[in-house]
């Protein structure tokens, strides 16, 4: 038989058999090197839990944004008084007038309706000793729920009569309803708002969103006429005007028309900036997109950094491991292990640890995400993708960072390895 002429390539079964034996052996490396294993697993688990939390958070910003846009209405636009979006709603300049509302309603085509909104903050709402702190008291014309696409869970909406008569009736936001009534039905009950008492006629569905610092559900709706007569608010100006169009196509076309109409009505010179802000769902998307892009970048960097830290821990521990295992490597080569076998062995050992670390980290990440969501900071819908993402990133980190130590081990000279240098 010929020693030299035989092909040294392994056949498929041989590769499969040898690789699976090496894999099986590397399963034992956990027991053989417990300290190394624990450190690598911890480091990777740390990175992968942050990766999971972060990707869960990002996953859910899209859920939140979709809801926001749906709530807002794709065919609606908001005009906010004042010149900057960053100022909180109450603190903005009062620049929108009754005339603005009428002219938009009459002069712009395809406007379905225009509803102004004026409100005040700073009054506690009280019912039988229970109170809701400082809800936003909104003054509205008839059909608040309909015009804001904000369904009622019970009772009825404000109607024209309420507004004409300045009736002391109110529709509660879900937060206020919960604070005052818990599971009881509030319809027909009397509540105190500041100095006046109001009869509850309806309850709004929960929206769960935030507007600045404030929860949008922490509000009560009363007739506009009642607001201006009972509370010290500016009766000639509005904070927000909501405009709804017949078709969503029209928004972009009429945005500029509304802008120039308002600039004309507000007598702004060419060099002056708008003293109002136009917000459509498109702009919400753009704004959220920028915000989310920044968030992704920042959180992504954080996750990548923590995974890299895990990777470097792995690389260092594996380099040390190779040094302390010269004899093992030497003897394996002496009995027939090839370079590739040694490389594969160390890569298996590494990936085993990183995948276990990634798994543990993924679980921790999901648990922490749920915990954070229970604090009400973000909503978590369980999704397997962040988990799979962090598992596969862990695997890749294992390969990348163990490659150098594995190659070092594989390239050791048999004799030098056996001598231990």
């Amino acid at each position: 038989m010929s020693l030299a002429k035989k092909n040294s390539r392994r056949g498929f079964t041989e590769v499969f058999l040898i690789t699976s034996r090496i894999l099986y052996e590397s399963l034992h490396s956990f027991r053989a090197f417990p300290l190394r294993s624990v450190f690598v697993i911890l480091a990777i688990a740390f990175g992968s839990s942050s990766l999971t939390i972060i990707s869960t958070a990002l996953d859910n910003t899209s859920v939140v944004v979709d809801e926001l846009v749906a709530d807002f209405g794709p065919d609606a636009m908001m005009i906010i008084g004042g010149d900057q979006i960053v100022t909180a709603v109450g603190g903005r300049g009062m620049t929108l007038t009754k005339e603005d509302v009428e002219r938009i309603s009459n002069n712009i085509n395809s406007v379905e309706y225009v509803v102004p909104l004026q409100g005040t903050v700073g009054n506690d709402v009280v019912y039988k000793g229970k109170s809701a702190r400082h809800p936003f008291v909104v003054g509205s014309l008839a059909d608040f729920a309909k015009s804001w696409d904000w369904p009622l869970t019970e009772g009825r909406d404000l109607n024209d009569k309420d507004v004409e008569n300045g009736a002391k009736v109110t529709v509660l936001g879900s937060k206020v309803k919960e604070a005052l009534f818990e599971n009881e039905s509030p319809i027909g009950k009397q509540i105190r708002v500041g100095q006046s008492s109001f009869t509850v006629i309806g309850v709004l569905e929960e929206r769960g969103a935030f507007s600045g610092q404030e929860h949008v559900d922490n509000r009560i709706i009363i007739p506009f006429s009642t607001l201006v007569s009972r509370f010290p608010v500016d009766r000639n100006h509005f904070q927000i005007i909501r405009v709804r169009f017949n078709d969503s196509e029209a928004i972009s076309r009429y945005t500029e028309e509304i802008r120039s109409l308002l600039r004309y009505l507000h007598r702004l010179e060419d060099h002056e900036e708008d003293d109002f802000f136009l917000l459509s769902s498109d702009e919400i998307l753009v704004f959220v997109g920028i915000f989310k892009g920044g968030l992704t970048l920042f959180l992504g960097m954080t996750a990548v950094c923590s995974m890299l830290v895990g990777g470097f821990v792995l690389a260092n521990l594996f380099s040390l491991s190779v040094e302390s295992r010269y004899v093992e490597i030497g003897i394996k080569k002496a009995v027939g292990a090839r370079k590739s076998d040694i490389t594969v062995q160390f890569l298996f050992e590494a990936c085993l640890l990183t995948v276990v670390g990634g798994f543990i980290g993924g679980i921790i990440g999901i648990v922490v995400s749920f915990y954070i969501s229970s604090l009400g900071v973000m909503q978590v819908g369980f999704s397997i993708y962040p988990f799979l993402l962090s598992l596969s990133v862990s695997f890749v980190i294992g390969i990348i960072f163990a490659l150098k130590p594995a190659r070092t081990a594989a390239n050791l000279d048999v004799i030098a390895a056996l001598r231990g240098n």
Partner: protein, 260 residues
Amino acid sequence: MAKEVIRLGGAELIIPQSTPKELIRLENIKRIFYQVASQDDDENVSAETKEKGLEILKGINMTINTGEFVALQGSSGSGKSTLLHILGLLDRPTVGSYFLEGEDVSKLSDDRLSIIRNQKLSFVFQSFYLIPYATALDNVLLPAQYNKKPLSAQKKRAEELLKQLGLGNRMHFKPSALSGGQQQRVAMARALLNDPEIIFADEPTGQLDSATSRDILNLFTEMNEMGRTIILVTHDSDTAASAKRIVLLQDGQIAGETLT
């Protein structure tokens, strides 16, 4: 002496082989070490030596036939281990040709050499070289990892070998729980696992007391009687006396031969 057995009808004819089968032939093997790795006498190494390298083996010519038990004997530093490593395909000669079973193996690829080591050669070293975190059985099974023979059969064989070597009740012990002699037996079981043609041993009794050494040497003699070729390196003439042929190595050259 290798014998050929021919069956003719019921009778057995034992014919002494006229021409012994050549297993190994070395032609003018030289081994020169170029990098003198930070040795204590670094400063004593002249610049000339550094450039030309250290010639450790200075043209070795020898032939070894199948079934021989050869001892390479020589004082420390004479190049015995270096020669053994070349013979065992763990190292390559700088100059010269090495014919194993008639084929020049000095220029084969690393992977090819791995296959030959796995299937035809095996090693027993002075310091055993067992993997500390593996059991005796797993150490013996190490060569089985790198070929496609079914594992169950190899495992059975490993267990039988350990039993034959008196370690039947220590199979699942880690090396640290075994005596030196027991560890060397594990190493010998590992060397026998793939039924090699040649067993190389480098001072296999160097760390053992004299009684244990005798046991181990007897094992080599037994293996040789079963037809395996044994090449044993030692500085000690008593140990060398177990072999049938002693090759004396001196300063990288063959200085003489004795048949016992």
